[in-house]
């Protein structure tokens, strides 16, 4: 999952997944982990509320946060269910969103050469944008410690907040009256924001949004999201043409 740390935009840094984090001592790491967990928790409450609004039981909402533990993809799943689409589309969209974890996982894994298989599986489970970003900034020897400290802190914040949103959602009454449906696109905009600083990534985003909107009135729910991924292809093509033009003859 990707979230904004309080005050400091974080999350997907497209050029390089390594976000510099100055403090690497224990106290600095703990503070950092708790700050990130708190920011993530605000997301978790919206997830719990939206999951129940989409028709999931509160316990399934909490289970989702435990089983999946990847925020954006959980929102994608719940969004598909809320839209009346087959959850299959939510699963596909969620998995596509998580593909970036292959790159982050490979980068983190390369720095954990001596870990046991059990520990590597745990590291994989705890791998999210925030834990990977902190893990990859600092000495290689302590990569695992940073990954696990942030991962566990975020896990507690995420799962606990999901429970609050899921079980206390009933008390909130009509969700639209409070504008809570608007937290959904706002959440994704916050996740998207760090990507918009690079022109070609912003162009990809714009294309994706345009394709999804064009497809929305005519395609089955969930399909616009799949089609939006096609926005990647013209950008890759433009990259290829630019590289070819740059090759001296």
């Amino acid at each position: 999952m990707t979230h904004s740390d309080a005050g400091t935009p974080r999350g997907p840094d497209p050029g390089a997944p390594v976000v510099p984090v100055p403090a690497d001592d224990d106290a600095g790491l703990t503070t950092r982990a708790m700050t990130i967990a708190l920011a993530v928790a605000t997301f978790g409450v919206s997830f719990g509320v939206l999951a129940v609004a989409a028709g999931l039981s509160p316990s399934l909402a909490v289970l989702t946060s435990i089983i999946v533990f990847a925020g954006a993809s959980q929102f994608a799943l719940v969004g598909a269910i809320a839209a009346g689409a087959s959850p299959l589309f939510g699963v596909l969209g969620g998995l596509l969103l998580n593909l970036r974890m292959l790159a982050l996982g490979a980068a983190v894994g390369a720095r954990l050469p001596t870990a046991t298989l059990g520990r590597r599986l745990l590291d994989g489970y705890l791998l999210i944008d925030e834990s990977a970003a902190v893990a990859l900034s600092g000495p290689a020897a302590t990569t695992g410690r940073r990954l696990r400290t942030v991962g566990i802190a975020v896990w507690i914040g995420w799962v606990g907040a999901t429970a609050v949103g899921a079980y206390a959602g009933d008390l909130l009454g009509d969700l639209e009256r409070y504008g809570l449906d608007a937290t959904f696109p706002a959440t994704f905009l916050a996740l998207l924001a760090p990507w918009l600083r690079q022109r070609r990534l912003a162009a990809t985003a714009l294309l994706g949004a345009g394709i999804a909107l064009l497809a929305w009135p005519v395609a089955a729910p969930g399909v616009p999201l799949m089609l939006a991924v096609m926005a990647v292809l013209p950008v890759l093509l433009a990259d290829r043409l630019a590289r070819r033009a740059a090759v001296p003859r």
Partner: protein, 101 residues
């Protein structure tokens, strides 16, 4: 596909994706083409989620109070507001528009 099955499939798939790096750790990078594709998917998908979440309705595309909320969220992000402020501002402005109209 029921919701619980979807959660389990998404969970298993996500775990496979996330654990692939740490488990297969060998210092090898992804194939360059896949790496480039993977890096571009999130902005396309996230933007699609923003757009359809703001303008999508069962009847088609609509411009309603959510668009105001998104605009306010955008302004909050521009000023580097913390995440909680961004989301709360979006909800509050959307609720305000609905209360007034």
């Amino acid at each position: 596909m029921s919701a619980i099955v979807a959660v389990l499939v998404l969970g298993l798939g996500t775990f496979a994706i996330k654990a692939a790096g740490p488990v297969l750790a060998s210092g090898r990078a992804l194939p360059a083409g896949l790496e480039r594709f993977v890096r571009l998917v999130p902005p396309a998908l996230l933007a699609a989620l923003v757009a359809t979440g703001t303008f999508g309705a069962p009847s088609g595309l609509v411009v309603d109070a959510r668009a105001v909320g998104l605009g306010v969220a955008g302004i909050a992000l521009w000023f580097r507001a913390p995440f909680a402020v961004v989301v709360l501002a979006a909800a509050a402005s959307t609720a305000l528009v609905r209360a007034l109209w």
